[in-house]
Each structure stands twice: as structure tokens, then as C-alpha cells.
Amino acid sequence: MRDVPPENLSRRRIILLGSWAAAACGAAGWFSSGPASVPKRAGGTDADTGTLLAFIAELFGRNLSLQDRTELADRLAYMGQYRASLRRDCSVLAAYLDRQSGQYGAGDFAACSAPQKASIVDEIMQLPLKSRMAFFLSRFSRTERDFYRMRWSAVPQLAWVYRHSPAAWRARGYQRWPGVRGNWRDILAPGAPYP
């Protein structure tokens, strides 16, 4: 039992009041961390996949071959099949990417020029969301929640998928990678160099 009020009670009251005010503002959409709100569309479409593959390529600065794209598309489909929340978050990201592409007159993100894609990816990667306030606002504002999920769920997940995909290993000159059967005696040969 505590019989003396804590010394920082008044400071707590101020923080609480401020938090509620911020939440109310967020709910009303009065301010936003991102440059534009996120459009809504049905998730898990082919359009999403094309946009997300273009995003992955831009994120890692790589050109994806047809084989890379096919394999990555399969993995994205697998991801969506097992984690509905990730499918939804990635769909939010795809919709946002395509909408931002509109400002350059492009139909979707994949149709943008390289500098345009780089500019949009920069904008997403620089979203100032990794703060307690951003997390707090994401609980109350749909727009904030979309930005938060896009940056801290969809982007890391897509990065993980690429890092562990054949495309990432192939880009380094590997002909075989974890998950593919081969011959352990390969450790005795230097193999192809990094291109």
C-alpha cells in the first residue's frame, strides 16, 4: 500500500492529457506522419504483386530477372496464404506506391522511371514513424495505422523475403543457396566470384 502520492503525479497528468489530445487529433485526421493518406483497394491482386516486385527491386538496387520475379512472386503468394495480416499490410503499401506514382503521371509504381521510383522509396524509408508517439497514434488513426504497418510490417517483411530468396544469392554469383540440394564437397571449390 502506498500512502504518499508520487512526486511526478502532475507530470503524469500532463502526459495523459496530451496523449488523449493527440489521439483525438489523429482520429480526426488533423495531422499525419506521411505525405498523403493511403488509398484503399482489395488486397492480394496481381497488380499488388507487380508493384511489390518493383518495390523490392528498387529497395535493393537490383534488376530482377524473369526467374527472380517468378520465384519472388511465388514466395509473396505463399506469404499471403499463411499470414493474412502481412498480405493486408503489403497491399496497403502497394496501393500507396501506385498512388504516389500518379504524381509523376505513371499508371503504377512499376511504370515509373528509375529516379521516380527512387524518390518514392526514399519517401517511404524516411517516414518518421519509429517513435512511441507514432505507435500511439497508429492505435487511433487509420491513416497513421496504415503508414505504421506499411513501414514497420510490410517493408521489413519484403526485405526478409528478398534476403532469403534465390534472387539475392544469384546476384552474388551463387548457383546454389540454402534450401537447395547439392554436394557438400562444394566447400572445397571456390565457386563463381561475385559478379
Binding site: 538496387g61 499470414r83 526485405a159 552474388r172 543457396w177 566447400i187
Partner: protein, 519 residues
Amino acid sequence: MSTPRRYDLVIVGAGLVGGLIAAEATRRGRTVALIEAGRRYNIADRSEQLLRHQVLGGLKWPYLHEDRDRYTDSSEPSIGVPYKLESHRLKGVGGSTLHWGGRISRLKPSDFATETAYGTGKDWPISYEDIEPYYSRAEWELGVSGSEHPALPSRSKGYPNPGFPLSVDDQMWLPVAERLGIAVYPSAFAINSRAYAGRPECQAIAACELCPSGARYSADVHVQLAERSGLCDLVSDTVARRIDLSASGEVRAIHVSSLEGEEREIQGTNYIVAAHAVESARLLLLSECGNHSDQVGRNFMEHIYVEGGGHFPAKRFYPQRGGYEVLESLSYYDGAGRRERGGIKIEFTFEQDPLADMERERIWGRAMARHDRENFGRWAGIAAETEHLPNPDSRVTLDPEIQDLFGDPVPHLHLAFSALDRQTQRRAREIIEELLGAAGAKDVVQDPLTSNSFGAHHLGTCRMSADPDRGVVDSNCRVHGTSNLFVAGGSVFPSGGAMQPSLTIAALALRLADHLYAA
């Protein structure tokens, strides 16, 4: 109503110990009940598991049963990092060998008598000579691939499979080792370098923690052997909750509950608790068995991996091409320095993914491609496996407030380091600095301890001692004060050295089987 079956042997835990002893007992015509809290996994599913990990991330074996596997932990204040039990143990048929890397080591003879030789740790009541024949037998049971080397403990029998040679990357350390006068050798693995015992040759899938081919040993192999005899009943998805011990010290039955809540008792002539150091101690505490001297749960030990690495701008390594690196050294393990610290084993690593630097370095796009091109394979590291000396304050107890799905107290961990442990870690950092410096590494970084710095080697808690007041089991793994109750596994280690413990666990299991069923 049919009469309940009475088994020759009841084993709690279908992991490495349970599998080996069940196979040995059934070979000798004994009936066995093998109780396992977890489920049985199908090896055919491992490729799917690997794909799931590559796409979704997270644990490679993410099959926790939240209500069954709860635990609490107060380790953080004493060691500075959280201890993640959920990623270290695996409940299932095969136990933690389902997700191990397969690296195999014998303890050194000195590890059995550190108290006498160095004044640190705790002597075992058995010697290396006592256990050596069982080490050899265990290597043949598991199908170990290894190469003999003068730096390794003496042996009475060769390895069943040829060792894996040093990789191209490993060989970069050879001139450095020669210059420093340290002995390096290829480690042994419980991975087939050639087809052995019905399992295929390693196919270099480079996912040893899952091993979709089955070339890496996992203990479900021996569970299946026991089952095929027709003498072993596997009781999976069933938790052992109490040992029914009479006042005379004889166990009458083990009380179990299925995950669906069905309760029953299983009776036998002898009983072995082999449920990992945490759950074995918990079961004894719940049952008030073997704890007359307040030793159950104490001296919980781990292996702490002190790691560092550096860049080699003029070299390019190619990690993961053959699956794994094999080089290690025992040159810093023993010697006069061990009076002031624990043992240290050195392993050499090459894996670091520049693509993982995205968030930390805040790089993406063309800069990321450049970063990968410049840094991929330019890194080599050292992982020093360090001994965690026995410490009575490092312990497993019963949580007085939190219960599992059956209403039983969950295990509470308090992992503690002593000043000597910290001295061991400091010495390991000096060695890493010395080795990387001698190799010409640039930008050497010593990694801080994190929750990933542990070997997931749970030792102690039911330690072996000839003196009932200083331990829980005798030199034959029988619980002091009982006639037919045994504890086996890493939990009986009086001290753990700085070696992967699985081979010693397997050797102790075979030794116990011989003790129970010697011809």
C-alpha cells in the same frame, strides 16, 4: 476393464536420452513407455518448414504450445540480457536434436576434474576413462563424421564416418594459426559425410537446424527404432506432471495428462526423467523428489558465445556454399589460466549478411547494392564458446504465481554469472582481438552479449555427485534416496566445460542403459 500395462522402463522425454535408452532397452527385450510432452513431427514436412522460415521468418520450429510452455525469468538483472527459453528448447519427438546444428565434441579429460586441477567448477564422480567407451558408442549410434587430431581427447575407436574437410574459407586461418602456434582442426558433426545407418549423405542444403534430407542426426531416429521393435509405446502430446514416490524411495507410477486434459498413470519397474535441465528439475520439484539437500534446480549452466569479427577488404569469402564452417581450436581451453576462468573453445565463422544492415545503417536502393557488393564475404568472425561455471544461485525454481494449463507452477529461471564467468568472457574477448589482429582484420567489432549469445545448452539442475548432500543423482544417474528413479541428460552435469554437450549426454544415456540392462 483391462489391467493397466506395466512397463520395464518408463521414460519422461523422447529426446536424445529417451530415444537412445528406449532403443537400447528394446534391443535387450525390455518394454518401454516413452512419454513426450510435444508432438511427433514428420521429416517430410521439413522442406515446407524451411520455406516457411525463408518467407515468414521467426523460429525455424515455431511450435510452442503457449499454455504448456510458459515460464518466467528473472535473469536479466544479473546477466544484462534476456534469456529466451522458447527459442532454445524444442518439445517434440526427437527433442532439441530436431533443431541443433549437429556439431559434436567430447569433453576433455580435464573437464571431469576442474575442481581438483584448477580449483574451479565441480569434479564429476566419474572420469574421462569411465565414459570414453560410451563416447565411442555414441558416435557410432549418431553417425558422427570426424577426423582424429592430436588436439582432441584420446579415443579407443575411430569415427564411423570420415570428417568434413576444411572449406576454402576455413583455410584462410591456417597460416594465422601457424604463426600464433595454435592448433586448429575440423570439428566433428553428427551429419553423415556418407550414407550411414539408413540415412543419406549430407546434401549441403545449408539448413542444418531443419535438415530436410535427414543426413543430420535427430533422436526421432532412435525413437522409431524402439517403436519398430514392438516393445515401445510412444505417448506423445502428454505431459508428465507428478512422480508418485513412496516413503521407502520407490517410484510407483508417473501421473500424466494429455493436452486435452485426460489424466492417467503409467507404471513401470524403473523410471528415467530426461526432460531437459529445466523441465526435469521442475518435475522433481513438483513431485518433491530428490531435493532433501536443496540441490534440485541449482547450478543451471549454459554456454555463452562471446563473438567478434572484422573486415578483410582484400579477401572475399563465400559463406553457405557448402553449408557450414568446420574449423575450431582448443588451444585456449586449458592451462594455468583456467585457475582464474573457465574453458574457452574457439570456432571460426564467416556469415554476415550486408543486406541485413538496411535498418541499422539506413541504406537502400543503389546504395544498398553497392554496400552488398563491397561488403559481402569480406567479413570473418570468431565465436568463443565459454564455460559457465556451476553456481548455486543460477537455478530453476517453481514460480509461486504463474501456472500452466494444468494448474501446475511454471518453471522460473534465474540465470546468474559469477565474477569468474565474466573473467572467462573478458579473456575470450582478448583472444578474439588477438586472432583477428593477427589475421589482419580491419574494423574489428566485439559483439555485445544478447539473447542470441547462448548455446541453448541447458546443463546442471540435477547434478551428479557421490555425496547426496552435494548433488541429486549418483554416478549411475540414480536419484539419491530412491531405488528406481533416474535422471539423465545435461541436467546431471556437475560442470559443463566449453564443449557442445550432446555427445556427453548421449554417452551418459548409453552408460545408464548398460547400468540398467547389462547382460
